[in-house]
Subunit: 157 residues, 4 copies
């Protein structure tokens, strides 16, 4: 699992006084940085070198997010296919899980415009990070239970 912290900006909120949903894809992109580094260790973001293409993303908004408290983005690798990976991501704030989402990325040749197999080298590095959705959910249940008595911050006058 990869964890990063983000301090929400004023511009990330909207007039309904919560974090606007459209910033979440951006935060999740930031959260996938370490996975990008495995595929592209030299960071050369050109169509001749880069080898990842996003083909699916989804988001489930469970609880509202607020300005004024850092969020934690957790990124899990849940599946390694022949030429694709599936990534599960979460946004946590003040001890509760607020957004979950999945994205599927293809290992891709931007010149030939077609999929390519994930190399053995990359696959071996990826394997160390593999986890199942069941394990994630089990861990989250325990964590949420432990956080139950935490002071509640979810209030705006």
């Amino acid at each position: 699992m990869f964890k990063i912290n983000i301090t929400p900006n004023i511009g990330d909120t909207d007039a309904l006084r919560h974090i606007n949903p459209n910033i979440i894809p951006v935060w999740f992109e930031t959260g996938r940085t370490e996975l990008y580094n495995i595929f592209n260790p030299t960071h050369e973001l050109t169509y001749k070198k880069w080898n990842l293409l996003l083909v699916h993303m989804d988001f489930n908004f469970i609880k509202l997010l607020y300005f004024g408290y850092d969020v934690e983005i957790r990124t899990y690798l849940i599946k390694i296919g022949k030429s694709s990976i599936t990534i599960q991501q979460e946004v946590w704030q003040n001890g509760s899980l607020r957004v979950t989402g999945k994205s599927i990325m293809l290992c891709y040749d931007y010149i030939k415009q077609e999929n390519k197999f994930i190399s053995e080298n990359i696959r071996n590095q990826l394997k160390k990070h593999l986890i199942t959705l069941e394990e994630i959910e089990e861990n989250n249940k325990i964590e949420m239970k432990n956080n139950k008595n935490r002071k509640k911050y979810d209030f705006i006058e």
Copy 2:
């Protein structure tokens, strides 16, 4: 179906020379404007008045999108529940379907922080726009077939 046209900005592209996926949620939000108007005809975007909350969105990226050509955002209402609506959206460019996505919105009371039923008045207006996923797909198949002989623009040197 609601249709809007958008001219992609330079800032909507990324270094891989295509439209970056993270702008699609923003375009889809713009595409839902007419539905928002049915729920909130006075446009009062405050937690005391506004009555819609996004709880799910997903995106399938079928074909790459390019700078230099307008995109068309199509917004369909595919389900009206007791207190939620399901919206199907598409991005078309140069005669081909490039992105599809679904979003679910709750009719919501931001003060009580709970769902509320969709009123009869709103429901009646919504019903006029209802269409099934099957109908959408049938129409798209015909349209794509008719567009088959269109000049291809999908190329960047």
Copy 3:
């Protein structure tokens, strides 16, 4: 002068219930589209072909902007230099001027990484759009005076 209309999105607002300033550079970029078309009629946004580089932008926020009303972006060409242009832009909403801003763009060779002269052909097309800041201000003064008795919308409960 080039005019475009934009319907603000929910995501363009922030928790202070107004339009967030960080969306204005994006709107101004959209407003400059017609000028980009003069410099790059084939719309090929690659470093081998594209010939404009932004080197300065500034923004003065005069009056708050609101969700629920379209904005008008006005784009003026106020100076044509040897290898640069200066652009004045405005955001209007409900009959009053709310943001002004200036940007300077270089005619630029992205391969050699240096300025280049604006060609005679481009210069001739640009000249038709040239206007002075004084003329803009004079026109605005008249327009604002005529709008004085318009119903005021600038209020959120």
Copy 4:
């Protein structure tokens, strides 16, 4: 001076293979977080409590910014007025100064919609951070000179 590090996202680049200018206002907003904390220690971002309003921002783009290397945002307080502050900000990457910009913020009452004086308590905290533009420029000159022999990274094939 306040320093933060940001890892650029793919979505922050554009098809010209550099960082798009429209993300800089967002990075600068993140950079001002510590100043916001002085004015609003409880982080209550509502029009009843929040007391800062952005009235001006400008940006000078000196050198192109690249994906693949972290950027450092430096935020300086250069002026404390009766009811306004002036902030100078910089983006550094790979040892060179790439963007400078200034913003002016009013201490503001969002209910009365008028300026208010900066309190003595806030003013005393702000004073510790005050620096002149001349000092900043002098420091930068020395730093840039020391960095002169650094390996150059500014190249994309």
